[in-house]
């Protein structure tokens, strides 16, 4: 299975990595040098169309719906195929390096108008978000039904695979970090966060549509989740928690002048670190894998034989990294959930 995934990944990356992404066949482009940085960034960043592969210099991509609200022009929705991979303008909009910009009659980018755009498009990542949510709901609603149908019986199938994870999160994360008294309130959030991150980390490793979007490695996704962690922590903070932030007991008053700002800063820093950890880990993993694959093409440009030679080693490294990423996918989901639980635990702590 892993070999299959790896093979598909390699195949799609080779196809992906043709330098003129987004451009239809063009003689001058075919001589352009391979730019690994550009290719990697394209894989990691969000996009308005889902590029599947290139074939004979022509890009095959799945068009995604564009929803933009302009402060003066209002709402407009159309498919991203209208842009023709960034070559055409539509309704006065154009795609410039993956961003939607406004153009004037002359076909030039209008910075003033562009700043009025609110882009709510169903991008690659948003699509992936919907996809993962559908998967999560279908998996867990099926399982939850099983618990009703097969009440008081041993778990079976997918249920027996996920049940230990659910129990692990309940007993080893929620119960131990938050405490017997309050853990039940936070358990649904922790479970949802864990499975959401875990699934999307795994989907990010699948090279072909509908996987491959770097959702958990996009800063917006961990940002929303850590913001929720921050809000929940702040709202559930009890007297003991606030006392330790604003007036640490047993500390002399002059020291408090220094300590209190640090503590307040720490409250904000905790979710920030949570966000950066997930974002950086997942993005870094993708970058490493793509870098190893890029090496094949860098050497291949020097001489085809060098490319073939390096591909053996690169392939082995990519295989190793993908295996490691499987571990990281679980580990990061676990770490995020555990730290969130510990923050909740510190907020509800009482003495």
């Amino acid at each position: 299975m892993l070999r299959l995934v790896f093979g598909l990944f390699l195949l799609s990356t080779i196809l992906h990595s043709s330098p003129e992404f987004g451009d239809p066949s063009n003689e001058s482009h075919n001589n352009k040098k391979f730019e690994p940085g550009k290719m990697i960034m394209h894989h990691i960043l969000d996009s308005h169309e889902w590029h599947v592969f290139d074939w004979k210099g022509k890009a095959f991509s799945i068009p995604l719906p564009i929803i933009i609200y302009h402060e003066t022009k209002g709402l407009s929705t159309f498919m991203s195929s209208k842009f023709n991979h960034g070559h055409d303008t539509h309704k006065g909009y154009m795609m410039d390096h993956g961003n939607i910009v406004c153009v004037n009659e002359m076909g030039e980018v209008d910075q003033n108008e562009t700043s009025k755009i609110w882009d709510f498009s169903i991008t690659k990542n948003v699509f992936s978000l919907f996809f993962s949510i559908i998967i999560l709901l279908s998996i867990f609603l099926t399982i939850s039904k099983k618990y009703n149908v097969r009440a008081n019986r041993a778990p079976s199938g997918l249920q027996s695979f996920l049940e230990p994870i659910i129990i692990f999160i309940r007993d080893d994360i929620a119960k131990s970090a938050i405490g017997e008294k309050d853990y039940q309130r936070y358990l649904p959030f922790l479970l949802t966060v864990f499975f959401f991150i875990f699934l999307n980390n795994l989907l990010g490793l699948v090279p072909l549509f509908p996987g491959g979007a770097n959702l958990t490695g996009n800063i917006a996704v961990p940002m929303v989740m850590s913001a929720m962690v921050f809000i929940i922590t702040t709202l559930s903070g009890k007297k003991y928690y606030w006392k330790h932030i604003f007036a640490m007991p047993g500390v002399p008053k002059p020291v408090l002048l220094i300590l209190t700002p640090i503590e307040i800063f720490g409250v904000l820093l905790k979710p920030l670190v949570l966000m950066i950890r997930l974002f950086a880990n997942i993005t870094a993993g993708h970058i490493i894998i793509l870098s190893f694959l890029s090496m094949i093409f860098i050497f291949g440009e020097m001489h085809p034989a060098a490319g073939y030679g390096v591909s053996v080693f690169s392939g082995m490294f990519v295989l190793f990294m993908l295996t490691l990423e499987l571990l990281v996918a679980f580990l990061q989901a676990y770490v995020f959930t555990l730290l969130a639980a510990m923050y909740f635990g510190s907020a509800v702590e009482e003495h």
């Binding site: 929803i67 867990f140 939850s144 008081n152 649904p188 917006a220």
Partner: protein
Amino acid sequence: MDLVKPDIGLLFWMTTCFILLLILMRKFAWGPILKALDEREQGIQLALDQAEAAKKQIAEATEKVTEILQKGRAEKEELIKATQADLAEYKQEQQTKINAQIESKLDAAKQEILQQKRAALGELTQKVGELSVEIAEKILEKELENHTQSNSIIENSLKGLEIK
């Protein structure tokens, strides 16, 4: 599309979708699943407790049964012993009774024999007396004829009468 600058679109969709996911999962997935897990765990605990209690009860019952059995055995033995003792005593009693009866009967028989003997002796003495008188009569008759002869006869007859 920037690496570290979040897009408003993804922020918006992520926030709404994640909250929606949270609500749906909480209501339709985690609620029933966690409840079922709790119930099952409680069920298992209950079953274990019941099994433990049943085990204890069985152990107690077995103990009681062995106790009763032991008591019964002891009682039986005691009873047997008591019966044996009674029997022995009864036998002894009977024996002594029989012995006493035999003795008394024997005594009575001895007495009777003695009496009879005495009576016989008395009769004999009378008869001897009568006989002596007769003899004496005869002797006297003969004495009158032969004095020495008569004397030896008396003497002889008296010798013959020498019974205790």
